[in-house]
Amino acid sequence: MWALSRAWERASPAFSSAEEVPALMGRPVKYYARMTRETRCSLFAATLAVESSGARPDGTEIGLISAGSDGWMQASAEYFRDYVEHGRTLGRGNLFIYTLPTSGLGEVAIALGLSGPCMFAHDAKNPTAGLCRTGGQMLTDGEAQMILGIYSGPDAAVCLNLHRGPGITEMNALIAENGQLNPLELCHKLRERVRQA
């Protein structure tokens, strides 16, 4: 049995200046400067999710799975464009390392000290339901005590917080009804419901 312990955490920080770095992330702005925008969004959303769960990464095995997001594809194009513009002899390693779908997750794991599974697993037909199903199976298999399911778009990221046990029934039902939506779309839908209520 798995469930969402909290609906989601949504974040869209650019933090190009020190003032914009959320206090709970606790590092100087230079630490985040090397990251792509997508990675910063994912990191912020994951940080909020871990904070809100009350879990301590050093005492809880937390895994990361992601879906969606073409952020790494833009990073790939940026790396190769830079390489071409500089004579096609030497690429920049600091751009190359962000060309994988899991690059952002790697940074999240390092920044938050997360030690569980880490993979991109995109189910094109049912991105949200796919994330939840994959995370749920990992929890049942004992791969981690908590799974963060991250979906990031160009300007925002959503982090679903999955754990074993009872959770928020309405959110589970919403996902069951709307598994074909991606988590960002699902956020909008739930916000509309809250507003109407």
Binding site: M73, Y79, G91, G93, I97, G106, S115, P117, M119
Partner: protein
């Protein structure tokens, strides 16, 4: 419920099929050779393990050309509801290159692994779940853990795992910039090892509940949370992955007769793996890496070495680590440059690691252990 790799196929620079791969490794000769593909680029190496007899059609990527030929024999043989997991590092990288070189941003959409998995799904006539999976150089190993999990959860009676990665200027230039490439063919676990050699490969595995094949007995996926590209020198993440895989399989270290290592040939990655092995195992176990023969095939690396490990435990013989001359002190008694007899035990461990600090370990059994 047991998850078993009951059917599979592979192509590497040794040729098409597992026999070509197995015989190539057992011969001790490498398929790595100098390539002229990037000769004018001034990279730090000209070595690569390339599939020579590959003829992509116009507008077709090398990845898709590999898969088209490799998957043709199973067209129409699978239940259309079979879920598909496609493991690649990025997708069809040549389309990213073309998007930049031809200033055609629409091409980026074609490059995504989500697009590739749909192409493969369509080619095979599948209508079930289709998952694009990436976990850096542990991608296909991680995909197998997901397939085994889906089988054990009763989600489907069979799951098809397909993996592929090709050598591209994009990747070659990237590893060159990280100073990771050896100027000669990679020599995993050698005292003089000085980097990896890139290779290209594609493979598929049908994971089912049948009794014949390579049993997936347990697995572990972990993250180092230490560095984006360098391994954790204490091997904490890999050690945990191995321990998890053994615990899930209800096997102990001394049940393992063979280790299929990631064995890239880089100084720190190989050393990290040996730290993990020596920490857990009371005495040495035969360790092999395929990367001195077929290069580092990135996303495909895990499945390629697992198919070799499966052949090894069914035949009772471990292949040599091709390119190994003067074995590193840390791997002495473990890695060998000649085939080894495995005795009567039929349980193997396979490990992979990758960028972002990912680690995957699988415990594998022969059919008799299923």
């Amino acid at each position: 419920m047991n998850a078993v790799i009951s059917q599979s196929d592979v192509v590497t620079a040794y040729g098409w099929g597992l026999d070509a791969l197995w015989n190539g490794l057992m011969s001790g000769k490498t398929a790595i050779a100098p390539t002229q593909r990037f000769a004018e680029r001034g990279f730090i190496s000209d070595q690569a393990a390339i599939i020579e007899d590959l003829s992509p059609e116009p507008n077709e990527s090398r990845v898709m050309a590999m898969l088209r030929r490799l998957l043709t024999p199973i067209l129409g043989t699978l239940d259309p509801a079979t879920p598909l997991i496609l493991a690649s590092t990025v997708g069809e990288i040549e389309f990213i290159e073309r998007a930049v070189l031809e200033n055609n941003s629409a091409m980026l959409t074609e490059a995504r692994p989500q697009a590739l998995v749909q192409r493969v799904r369509q080619m095979l006539g599948l209508r079930g779940e289709a998952i694009a999976l990436s976990s850096a150089c542990a991608s296909s190993a991680a995909a197998l853990t997901r397939a085994a999990s889906m089988i054990q959860h009763g989600e489907a009676p069979a799951v098809l795992v397909v993996t592929c990665d090709a050598i591209s200027e994009f990747v070659y230039g990237g590893f060159s910039s990280l100073m990771s490439l050896s100027p000669r063919a990679a020599r995993p676990f050698d005292a003089g090892r000085d980097g990896l050699t890139l290779g290209e490969a594609a493979a598929w595995a049908l994971v089912t509940t049948r009794r014949e094949g390579i049993s997936i007995l347990g697995w572990g996926n972990t993250t180092d949370a230490v560095h984006m590209t360098a391994p954790d020198r204490n091997a904490g993440g890999l050690t945990r992955a191995i321990d998890k895989a053994l615990a899930m399989s209800r096997k102990k270290h001394n049940d393992i007769c063979l280790i299929a290592a990631h064995g890239t040939g880089t100084v720190y990655s190989d050393a990290m793996e040996m730290v993990a092995f020596q920490r857990g195992f009371q005495s040495s176990v035969p360790v092999f890496s395929v990367k001195g023969g077929v290069g580092h095939t990135l996303a495909a690396a895990g499945l390629v070495q697992i198919l070799v490990a499966g052949r090894a435990i069914s035949s009772g013989h471990a292949p040599p680590t091709v390119g190994l001359g003067n074995v590193d002190a840390g791997a002495a008694g473990w890695a060998r440059n000649a085939p080894a007899d495995l005795g009567t035990t039929r349980v193997a461990l396979s490990t992979n690691s990758g960028f972002g600090g990912v680690n995957t370990a699988l415990v594998l059994g022969a059919a008799v252990d299923a």
